[in-house]
């Protein structure tokens, strides 16, 4: 059961700087205690007149908290330093802080701002980072995410993933929109609008293109679309159904699932639609391919053993080996960037939940406590899983830390969100 639920209505204010205005709310749920979390004091930066809201330290603090690896230190009654010399290390240490983030914002002519921020290690009494940015107001949130990335990397040793993007499909009435947004769900941009369903978006490895499945031709067809100019090509529109695109790490080829020769089978195809090669040959369902980060292995879902399970095979084709054994329904694999973990959806007593699977040991851990989870997707740094679920009859997006202890919800009111994918 949740021990603490923190709700931040402040993000409603962020509407002011969202171009495709979206009523977004962010809810972070911390299930476990504070043990093993890095305690960071996010001191509000010295503000400048006319600066966007919320404060940079607020946005960066939410990022850090959502990762599950940080907790904020209570600032109540404390003096609020804005420069390194003002930081009282012993005081913050007494508050339980491991680190303190401080900064200043000053207004520049032309609506620009100068941002300075400092990360102080109050245990070692040293300065870990100091950066300055000159930004227009529209880069406010992006700057906060960069600050969070720096703090995250300095304190965990792992690069942050706060400046990355996600894609998802939003359904409103009978309208479908494929959207690309910041990793925290803000700044959504619609890249496809359709009266027919869109599913399975996947960013190219360099983030410049997006593959997806559209039903606009009255059947599933795989498209690849440029995120720069919106131009798109039909990559797979063969007889039958075309679906489940997955980029090879080199960005030149995709694995897709076609039914042109048999039931759903996995093929490789060049990103321009040429060079089709079939790589699975079964009389069963083979679908949801995903490449290992080194490109040598493909993980996929198959019912060849009598129930839906995840298998792996050489990307060049060949024998498949079963990966999942618990339960009768394990589907939708996502692999971490280091290739060490899978996240997938597992059915247990009628509930569909996100499971984390350590490939070296076969150990699994259920990360969520919901019932209708779908489409797990690792953050680029492998430390958080994005997924879709249903809450109050509505599709929402959520993130969960690898220990399952911190869950956050990214959602807009009144619309259905589904099919999330995390991009670079």
């Amino acid at each position: 059961m949740p021990r603490a639920v923190l709700f931040y209505p402040m993000l409603f204010l962020a509407l002011l700087c969202a171009p495709f205005s979206a009523r977004a709310a962010l809810e972070i749920q911390v299930i476990g205690g504070a043990a093993n979390k890095i305690a960071v004091a996010m001191v509000p930066f010295q503000a400048a007149p006319g600066q966007p809201v919320p404060d940079l330290s607020q946005i960066a603090g939410d990022d850090l908290e959502r990762s599950g690896q940080f907790r904020r230190v209570d600032l109540g009654g404390a003096a609020r330093p804005v420069a390194p010399a003002q930081v009282d290390h012993a005081f913050w240490r007494g508050r339980g802080a491991d680190a303190v983030v401080i900064g200043q914002v000053s207004a520049l002519p032309g609506g620009r701002f100068e941002v300075r921020f400092y990360l102080m290690d109050v245990i070692k009494r040293t300065q870990l980072a100091a950066f300055a940015y000159t930004i227009p107001a529209r880069q406010w949130r992006a700057t906060a995410h960069q600050i969070a990335d720096i703090v995250y990397e300095k304190l965990t040793g792992t690069p942050g993933a706060f400046s990355t993007r996600i894609a998802y499909v939003q359904k409103q009435g009978t309208r479908y929109e494929l959207r690309v947004a910041d990793a925290d769900g803000h700044n959504p941009h619609t890249v496809v609008r359709s009266a027919e369903p869109v599913i399975s978006p996947r960013f190219s490895p360099d983030g410049t293109r997006i593959a997806y499945v559209s039903f606009e031709d009255k059947k599933p067809v795989v498209y690849v679309q440029s995120l720069k100019d919106g131009r798109r090509t039909k990559v797979a529109a063969f007889k039958g159904s075309n679906s489940a695109p997955a980029w090879a790490p080199d960005g030149k080829r995709l694995a897709v699932v076609l039914t042109r020769d048999a039931g759903s089978q996995v093929y490789l195809i060049n990103a321009d639609g040429s060079g089709l090669v079939r790589i699975t040959r079964s009389a069963s369902i083979d679908t949801e391919p995903v490449f290992s980060p080194d490109g040598t292995t493909i993980y996929f879902t198959s019912d060849r053993g009598g129930s839906a399970q995840i298998y792996q095979m050489p990307a060049s084709g060949g024998d498949a080996r079963r990966v999942t054994f618990n339960g009768s329904y394990n589907v939708s694999p996502s692999i971490s960037k280091d290739g060490r973990r899978l996240a997938y959806i597992s059915r247990d007593e009628g509930r569909f939940r996100v499971v984390l699977h350590e490939l070296s040991t076969g150990q699994t851990r259920v990360l969520t406590d919901s019932a209708r989870d779908e489409s797990p997707s690792f953050a680029p740094n492998g430390q958080v899983v994005l997924y879709a679920t249903v809450q109050g009859g509505r599709g929402i997006l959520g993130t969960v830390s690898l220990d399952g202890q911190t869950r956050a919800r990214l959602s807009e009111s009144g619309v259905d969100a589904r099919e999330p994918a995390w991009g670079p």
């Binding site: 369903p197 399975s200 039903f215 009255k218 007889k239 159904s241 759903s264 589907v331 099919e419």
Partner: protein, 186 residues
């Protein structure tokens, strides 16, 4: 469901302008509850709400020039094959319907059908797409065995993307586990 309205509307639509957008398939087989709406003696056709009323619908109607595929009294107007949970076997109750479509396709080699498989909403969208494909393939194979050529047929899947019935009841799930037969000119 209005028993009189639809047949009349369809008759008017069909006689006035031949094939038009609205397919009788949308009228048919909505409930799947097994309550057959039988035709009263007045000749107003059955709306055949149940798939298992198939054997009762004989083949009148097309003498008047009405497209037999759109004649609610004709078995060809039946377009949905429903499947049991986790099953891809076509039940016996659909054999007359499938036979009728095969005969029509064999007699009209220019006619084409799209077999649209569907799945209920539980679980992965892509996996459900594959399940819907299996249901579409089951109907395609059945028609193939009866002599329909491959070039006349395309089996595709909508997975869980085009739920005919929403909700998480078993009734809704059953309604969504189906293959629809849609002609190319519809």
């Amino acid at each position: 469901m209005n028993k009189i309205f639809w047949p009349v509307l369809l008759a008017l639509t069909v006689s006035a302008c031949g094939t038009k957008g609205t397919t009788p398939a949308q009228v048919e087989d909505r409930t799947g509850t097994g309550t057959a709406t039988t035709a009263p003696a007045t000749g107003a056709a059955s709306t055949g709400t149940s798939s298992d009323s198939v054997s009762g619908s004989a083949l009148p109607g097309d003498a008047t020039g009405v497209d037999p595929r759109k004649d609610p009294a004709n078995v060809l107007s039946k377009r949905s094959v429903f499947f049991d949970f986790d099953s891809f076997v076509i039940k016996d109750e659909y054999s007359a319907m499938i036979q009728a479509h095969a005969s029509y396709l064999n007699a009209n080699r220019n006619a084409r059908v799209i077999l649209q498989g569907n799945a209920d909403e539980r679980g992965s969208r892509e996996y459900n797409l594959a399940l819907g494909q299996k249901r579409a393939e089951a109907v395609r194979r059945a028609l193939s065995v009866l002599g329909v050529t491959e070039s006349q047929m395309e089996a595709v899947s909508f997975g869980e993307e085009k739920l005919r019935k929403t909700g998480s009841t078993e009734e809704a799930h059953a309604e969504n586990r189906r293959t629809d037969v849609v002609y190319g000119d519809e």
